[in-house]
């Protein structure tokens, strides 16, 4: 696509300008990774709708901006500026990244138990590059698409979480990614690396927030490696400005009997694309992917999931729901690939969408590729409106029509929220949900 061409020069120029000041600059292996990613980007550019994976998500709006890599570190923000967004009732190890950089001022790491290491990727590259070298960019190597390539070339920071064998973290790790957009359109390339040792257990929340209006692009990659029996619960809350763009990938690799639970809530951004991929690489690995998206106006949200069942007796569950109003648009593409060796795979997928307006649109596509013969796979996708009989039931009790519709919408979405084990997160999402339903009084609705 011709529109991509000027961008190539733009990012190549940027890369030349900033490469020497990126974290880990001077480490040969990392310099090579970044340079290779930049080359890759020069070849493939940003995705176009001619690519199957991006058929329904046009990133032209992103391509037309000349996003500058953010290097300036913005200080001066204090916790109070963030209000409820930090989930005050959540007792967590908090690490905050401000405009793509770790912010000690807004972080509260707390005391970490034995065998648990959490720090910023930038400091890890400084203090223990030899630890990162065999781990970084091994699951997501920047080849997937132009965004992934740009992320690897430009990433400035992110969280590094390492759990040693049998380390169990009681409190969740709260990773806050805050964008305070100002001035020229900036891009923040964040990269997280989670390494969960055998038998370890942790809960990690990635929470994307923004203050202020201007356009920006957050480009995120999270790699997660789960060793045997590891147990990782991962939350991804995307609550960004309606002018922001958010593109992200969670790429997980799961060893024997490991368990990954991924919860996503995507309500913000003008365009949000979430790729959630897990490779079940050994027997008995399990993953549950849950997600809720709520869009309005002209928002566009795209969830692409891919579960690779590579070995026998893997279990995958996917429950995604969307509530769309205005002229918003959602895409769900759920790929389940059952490899030849993956006998006794048990995969289930469901995507349900509620359209609250005539002009909202959903493209949903389950994609099952099954090369083993003894498997149990099911999928279902629905797109519908509120049930008029239910609306009548509520109205017949005296409840005004808009309230009735709001309550039923809440009811539609709530089971995804209910799957979220962490109460403060559940409350946050519930409050967001209710705030989108102006006629509904939130207190006590779902108790």
């Amino acid at each position: 696509m011709s529109a991509v061409m000027p961008m190539d020069n733009h990012y190549a120029d940027s890369f030349t300008a900033v490469r020497g000041s990126l974290p880990g600059a001077g480490l040969p292996w990392l310099d090579d990774l970044r340079a290779a990613a930049m080359d890759r980007y020069a070849t493939i550019g940003l995705p176009t709708t001619r690519q199957e994976e991006w058929k329904y998500t046009n990133v032209r709006a992103i391509a037309k901006h000349s996003f500058q890599p953010s290097l300036a570190f913005c200080t001066g923000l204090v916790e109070d500026d963030l209000g409820d967004a930090l989930m005050g009732d959540l007792e967590a190890h908090r690490f905050t990244f401000l405009n793509g950089r770790y912010s000690p001022q807004l972080s509260r790491p707390g005391k970490l138990p034995e065998g648990v290491e959490i720090c910023s990727i930038s400091s890890a590259l400084q203090d223990m590059p030899e630890v990162l070298e065999p781990l970084l960019a091994k699951q997501a190597d920047g080849s997937a698409n132009g965004f992934a390539a740009l992320n690897l070339a430009f990433f400035t920071d992110g969280a590094f979480v390492r759990l040693e064998e049998d380390a169990r973290l009681e409190r969740p790790i709260q990773l806050v990614y805050l964008t305070t957009a100002h001035g020229d359109p900036e891009t923040h390339n964040l990269r997280n690396l989670i390494v969960a040792g055998a038998g370890s257990k942790a809960t990690i929340i990635e929470h994307y927030l923004s203050i202020g209006g201007p356009v920006y692009l957050n480009n995120v990659v999270t790699e997660a490696v789960l060793s045997a029996n590891a147990d990782l619960e991962h939350y991804k809350l995307q609550q960004e400005s309606l002018k922001g763009y958010h593109v992200s990938t969670l790429q997980a690799l799961q060893a024997r009997d490991s368990r990954l639970v991924s919860h996503s809530a995507s309500v913000g951004a003008s365009l949000a694309r979430h790729d959630i991929n897990s490779v079940l690489d050994a027997e008995g690995a399990q993953c549950s992917l849950n997600g809720l998206y709520i869009t309005g106006g002209r928002q566009h949200v795209d969830f692409h999931t891919r579960v690779d069942h590579k070995k026998p007796e893997g279990v995958s569950r996917e429950y995604y729901k969307g509530v769309l109003s205005g002229k918003s648009r959602a895409v769900f593409n759920g790929k389940v690939h059952v490899h030849q060796d993956a006998q006794k795979t048990d995969a289930e997928q469901s995507n349900r969408n509620l359209l609250l307006s005539r002009d909202a649109e959903v493209d949903t596509k389950p994609e099952l590729e099954i090369y083993a013969d003894d498997v149990k796979c099911s999928h279902g996708a629905t797109i519908g409106q509120l049930d008029e009989n239910s609306v009548f039931y509520l109205r017949s009790r005296g409840i005004p029509q808009p309230v009735a519709r709001g309550m039923l919408t809440y009811g539609f979405a709530h089971d995804i929220v209910e799957r979220m084990g962490l109460e403060p997160v559940r409350h946050l999402i519930e409050n967001i949900l209710v705030s989108k339903l102006p006629h509904v009084d939130p207190s006590g609705i779902g108790q």
Binding site: D387, E388, N389, S390, F392, Y393, L394, R395, S396, R397, G398, I399, P400, Q401, V403, A404, M407, L408, Y410, G411, F412, A413, H414, D415, E418, D441, S443, G444, I445, G446, Q447
Partner: protein, 250 residues
Amino acid sequence: MLTIKDLRVDVEGKEILKGIDLEVNAGEVHAIMGPNGSGKSTLAHVLAGRPGYEVVSGEVTLDGEDLLDKAPEERACDGVFLAFQYPVEVPGVNNTYFLKTALNAIRKSRGQEELDAMDFLQLAREKAKFVNMDEGLLKRSVNEGFSGGEKKRNEIFQMAVLEPRLAILDETDSGLDIDALRIVSEGVNALRREDRAIIVVTHYQRLLNYIVPDFVHVLSGGRIVKSGDRGLALELEEQGYGWIDKVASA
């Protein structure tokens, strides 16, 4: 209280009610019986304001005020209540919350003060006891996972809380075993009052052993073909609906 004059209603272009006349006074219990497809459920739903029914002609007034022009929620605020044959499940919405929202909407429309959560809960507990409903159902999502009997009991419980002037019970006996039928009926009987009218829509006479009506009307082919006292229901049970067709065409 309720006056229905020559009510004709089409559903999807087909005439279902072909001229209904009915007068229901405060304190009375009327049973409307009839075979499947006679239009009795349509009548119940038209009174509650269900969308999708086209009133071709006739009028319905509640205490002299036109009912047919009003939205379902306005009718509820005027004191109309329909107990559904198939109560709707509302996952995720707490039963207490749902009913508090309903009651406060009705109270607000009447210029009464809204109840806060504590006061409402106290009221709800009293009423649950009154209609013999397990208090545990208050905390559950509306009708979700309720047994058939629990759903019907929840309808009667809602009626007890909302205190309608005109309650319409649509096939409340369907799907109930004899114990559940007895409990639900006891709830309804406890709610009989001088200033409240009740219309019981049913296919079978057996419900009327428990909720004894003052008047019985037999609906057939979209018309009331016979009215009488409780004896009519018993006669109908003995003779079957075939008898009615004979009487009607005679």
